[in-house]
Each structure stands twice: as C-alpha cells, then as structure tokens.
C-alpha cells in the first residue's frame, strides 16, 4: 500500500442537526483512513451514522467540524457537483424522464464531455453491467435488479475517484442480492475504483469488504479486515453485532482470568486486577465429559437444529447462558440430553478480552 495509504482521510468529523440549543449529533468525532482501490464498508445498525458519513463524503451534507480529504485535497466544504465522487442511491434515483443510456450519460454530459466520448463510455458501461440490450428503455420499464445495474453504470460512467454505495442491495430479494454481491465485487476489481459501501447486513460486509468500519451511536468502534473484526473484536458491541458470541464475566488475577472460580485462562494483555468480559464464538466451544481439565461445568438446556449444525444452549454455574455450535454428527446421533451436566472446553486463543 505504502504511498496509497490515506487516499481518503476522515479527520475528527462531527455532524450535528437541529438548532443550537437542541443539537443532536449524528456523528460524534469520526476518524478513518481509506486506501486507494479498497472495498471499504461502513457497517452498523440503522441510526448509527453510517449513511450520514456517506452523505458527508458525497457532499449532500456539510460537516459541523473536522476535515474530509481526498487524495490530499480537502473536499469537506465543496458542493457535491464539484467532488470527483459518485453515489449509488438506496432507491436508485434514476431519472424517470430519460432512457437508460441518457441516465448513464448524464454525468459525462454535465462534465461537458464531447458527444462521441459520451456515447463510447455509455457503451462500455452498458457492457460492464450487462445491459446493452436495454439502452433505449425507459427506466420505469426495468426490474429492480436492472435498475440497480443502471444506477451502478450511471455512477461509474464519469470515472469517479470514489464510488459511494448506500445500502444498494437492500431492496433486492435474497437470490438477486447474492448475485449482485458477486457482480459488485467483480466490477470493483475490474475498474479499480475505491468503493465505500454502507450496509447493516454483517454477512454482506464480511463477504465483500477489504476492510470494515463497525459503527454505533455516531462513532466508529473498530476498523479492520473481515477476519480481524470477526476473530478479534475489541468491543462488546462489535462482538455482538458481527456473528454470534458468548459473553462470560471473569475475574483477573495475576495475568490470568478466572472463570466461575474453576478455570484459568492465560491472558496476553490484561489488566492486573478486576473484572473483565470474555467473548468466545459458539463454534470454538466444545462439549466434553464433565470434570475434564480446563473445562467449564454447564447444564444442558435445549438444542436448536439447523441442518448443517445445531446450537446447544447451556447454563454455567453462575447462571450465565452460553451457546455451543456443534456440527451435525455424520452417524445421525442425537445431541446431549437436556438436564445433563457436561464440560465445555475451548482453546485459550479463541478467547477475546473486551473493553466494555
């Protein structure tokens, strides 16, 4: 990456709405650095500020404080039509009085490109999104998936430095969404354009992104690759939002966490004393015989069968509920009987210590 580090720099950006005496902060001090050519995802529940951040980068809103730099240039104060950034809108926002080709050519036309260039680019974009046959159609005669492709082509045609995508797949049905995920990734690799993608769907974020910023309450909680975010969440919210997680309280003593007064877990970087929360993914827990060394004692509750695997719910001695994910036994054996007492073991590496 080297010199490409910091293609887009978001520096302590805040955004407040409302009058001075009743200010509501949609973004409270956000900082992030996005690399050139990266597929960067803003992930979080609705109201977390991810769309506001996207709109600030696009120029639809101006930051209350802070800076947004693109390729070294401060763009935070520029109107949207002066930023080399294009957006794919959640509802597509195709111009209903124009054909597919006119929609795609609109940006280039506004940039004052010669007609021949526009026609050639529109051709290329139609081919890129596989819509060549429908160039002359009106946009209200297209299906949702086709409109999505036109919106993508329209935003890519002016060759922006950054493409912003605001939950573009949320209106599509599941099958189409999966197809478009693959398509989007292909187009991003083909064009080499930096994508900033907004979604509330953690699976979508994990499968498509180079890096993810998890947001909540107007702040970025953690930035990392999908693997880092999933395997090493630093924060209880992140651990809970991405995938399923067991949270277990533990007492720290001499660099080790003691769970339920029975099991010691070595911690790489832990506070010397006090209480911490440990996060362990359900697939990292294993059911073993009661009394196995290093295993927690737990009582089996019910089990939920999913086909490829099942979730076994158990209760620890202190009443904490945990879930163990078990692959379905090839011999078709039943899971553990409810009410029985078992041991639950885990490799020490699977344990994450969270900041609360």
């Amino acid at each position: 990456m080297g010199s490409d580090d910091g293609f887009i720099e978001i520096i302590d950006v805040t955004k407040a709405f409302g009058p001075a005496d009743r200010r509501v902060y949609a973004l409270g001090g956000v900082a992030a650095t996005i690399r050139r050519g990266e597929f960067f995802t803003l992930l979080g529940p609705s109201g977390c500020g991810k769309t506001t951040l996207l709109r600030l980068i696009a120029g639809f809103e101006l930051p209350t404080s802070g800076e947004i730099r693109l390729d070294g240039q401060e763009i935070g104060h520029l109107p949207p039509f002066r930023r080399p950034v294009n957006t794919v809108f959640q509802n597509y926002a195709l111009f209903p009085h124009m054909t597919v080709a006119q929609n795609i050519g609109f940006g280039l036309e506004m940039l004052g490109k010669p007609k021949a260039d526009i026609a050639a680019t529109v051709e290329r974009m139609l081919a890129l999104v596989k819509m060549t046959d429908l160039a002359g159609r009106r946009t209200d005669q297209l299906s949702g998936g086709q409109q999505q492709r036109v919106a993508l082509a329209r935003a890519l045609a002016p060759q922006p430095k950054v493409l912003l995508l605001d939950e573009p797949l949320s209106a599509l049905d599941l099958k189409l969404r999966k197809e478009m995920q693959v398509e989007l990734k292909r187009i991003q690799l083909e064009t080499g354009i930096t994508f900033i993608f907004v979604t509330h769907d953690q699976e979508e974020a994990l499968t498509m992104s180079d890096r993810i910023a998890v947001m909540s309450g107007g702040k970025i909680l953690q930035i990392g690759t999908p693997r880092e975010i999933y395997a090493h969440p630093t924060n209880r919210f992140v651990a809970d939002f991405i995938g399923e997680t067991n949270f277990i309280r533990a007492r720290v003593q001499g660099g080790k966490a003691i769970v339920g007064g029975e099991v010691e877990v070595p911690l790489p970087a832990a506070p010397a004393q006090g209480e911490v929360t440990l996060a362990i993914r359900p697939e990292h827990l294993r059911l073993v015989a009661k009394g196995t060394a290093g295993a927690l004692t737990a009582t089996v509750g019910d089990a939920v069968y999913f086909g490829t695997d099942s979730h076994v719910h158990l209760t620890l001695g202190d009443g904490t509920g945990i879930v163990v994910r078990q692959q379905t036994d090839p011999d078709g054996r039943e899971g553990p009987a409810p009410g029985s007492v078992l041991g639950v073991s885990f490799p020490p590496a699977a344990v994450q210590v969270l900041e609360d």
Partner: protein, 267 residues
C-alpha cells in the same frame, strides 16, 4: 353483510336526490346547447336545426373583437401567473421551512378566500389612482388583475406536483456534476412540466370566464367575451349568445379534460 361503515348511497331516496341534482346541473346547459342550433329566433321554441347563430356570431365583428381581447388577457394572465406560481411553489417546497411560511401560503391563496367583489372594488380604487397619476388606460390593468387572481389556480397543481417529486432525483443530479441551474433545467423542470401546463390551463380558464373583477376594472371599450355576453343579454336574448356560450363551454371542457389527464397519477 352488515357493514358498520356509513355508506351514503344506501340512504333512502339517494337515487332520487342524485337524479334531481344532475338534472339541475346539466339540464340548463343541455338546453343552452340545444337552442344554439335553433333555426328560429326564439330561445324557447324549437324551430328546426340550423347553424345560423354560429354563422351570425362568426360574422359579428364585435364578437370577434371581444373574443380576441379575452384570449389576449387570458393568455397573458395565465403566462404571468404561472411563472409567479412556479417560483412560489419552488420557494415553498424546496427551501427549508422558514418562519412565516404558513402566512405566505395563505397570502398566495388569498384570491380563493376573499370575496371576489372585495378584490374587485379594491382593484377599481387602486387602479383608478394609478390611472389618474399615469394617464395609462390600456389592457395592462385587466391583465394585471387577472394575473393576480389566477396565481392560486396555477400554484396548487404545480405545488402538488413538486411535493410528489422524489427529492433524491435532484440530489442524484448534483452528485453527477449538475450545478443547481442544470439540475433545475434537466431534472426538476422536465418532471414539473405536466404540473406547469396543468396550472397554466386552469389559470387560462379561470381568467377566460371572469366577470366580476373584469366589470369593475375595465375601461370603456374593453369588454371581454363574458362581459359582452352579459351586456347582450340585458338588451335582447338571441341564439347568438347560446352559440358563443356553447363554444366557450367546449373550449373549457377540452382544457379541463387535458388538465385532468395531465394531473392524474400515472399508474
């Protein structure tokens, strides 16, 4: 099925009332149209079919003169009021709500609420002062007066159209390098066009059949079609009046049908 909702059409005598109302509404108009084709001089005794009243009206220089004046006034007033209404509609829907917006909304629609006779008297006095001061006697007063009371008729359909428009379309245009002016030219205006045409037609029709304000504001020799018809009827009622009214009616129906088709929501 026992329905709990109140359905007017189930009340006793509903059909009778409906028929009486429709007869009261349309019978006189039907009579007017039928007798415009009467061969005889009477407007009450049928003497056979003819186009004689249409021919006479067509050949009447006075009728031509007042018709042209009416069209000039209606055309000018519709244009002026539509431009003003479009700007007002943009200002009241595209800007952030501002203090006093409701007041402005009421002010724009004032001609719909204030009795026409009040406006007419006020304009008479106001214009009389200007006439004395400037000496100008032309059609400008009528055009100005008509423009003023036509504004709400043009404003309402334009505003409705603007409110129904997806705002992200304008955001998308700005995102695609369109300056505010080009966004207006290429996105807002084309999408607004049906509303503007509809508003203009409504304003045109409203101006075309105005009597009260015209009577008060016009100078001598500035009769419009409706005031001319009124004057004619005072003297002697002939089929010519029927013929002119029928043509006016046909014109209005055509314009209002177009208005309806333009403002109807596309499925």
């Amino acid at each position: 099925m026992a329905s709990r909702t109140f359905t007017a059409s189930r009340l006793p005598g509903f059909a009778t009332v409906a028929i009486v109302v429709f007869i009261a509404l349309y019978m006189p108009i039907a009579m007017l149209m039928i007798y415009s084709f009467n061969a005889g001089d009477s407007i009450a005794i049928w003497d056979g079919f003819s186009f004689q009243w249409y021919e006479r009206a067509w050949e009447n220089e006075k009728v031509k003169e007042v018709t042209i004046r009416s069209l000039v006034i209606a055309g000018s007033a519709a244009t002026i009021s539509t431009v003003a209404a479009t700007m007002a509609a943009l200002a009241t829907t595209r800007k952030k709500p501002f203090r006093g917006q409701t007041g402005i909304y009421v002010a724009i629609n004032q001609p719909l609420m204030v009795p026409e006779i009040v406006t007419a008297v006020a304009l008479l006095i106001f214009f009389a002062a200007i006439k004395v001061a400037t000496g100008y006697q032309g059609l400008g007063y009528l055009i100005l007066a008509h423009s003023a009371f036509c504004i709400p008729f043009a404003y309402l359909p334009i505003r409705a159209r603007l409110e129904g428009m997806d705002l992200t379309l304008e955001t998308a245009a700005a995102d695609l390098y369109a300056t505010p002016w080009w966004t207006f030219r290429r996105v807002t205006l084309p999408l607004l066009a049906p509303g503007i045409v509809a508003g203009m037609m409504l304003a045109f029709v409203t101006s075309l059949d105005d009597v009260v304000i015209t009577l008060f504001v016009k100078s001598a020799g500035q009769d419009t079609l409706p005031t001319y018809l009124l004057a004619q009827i005072r003297r002697q009622v002939t089929g010519e009046v029927n013929a002119i009214s029928t043509v006016l009616l046909a014109l209005t129906v055509i314009l209002l049908t177009t208005f309806f088709l333009l403002t109807r929501k596309r499925s």
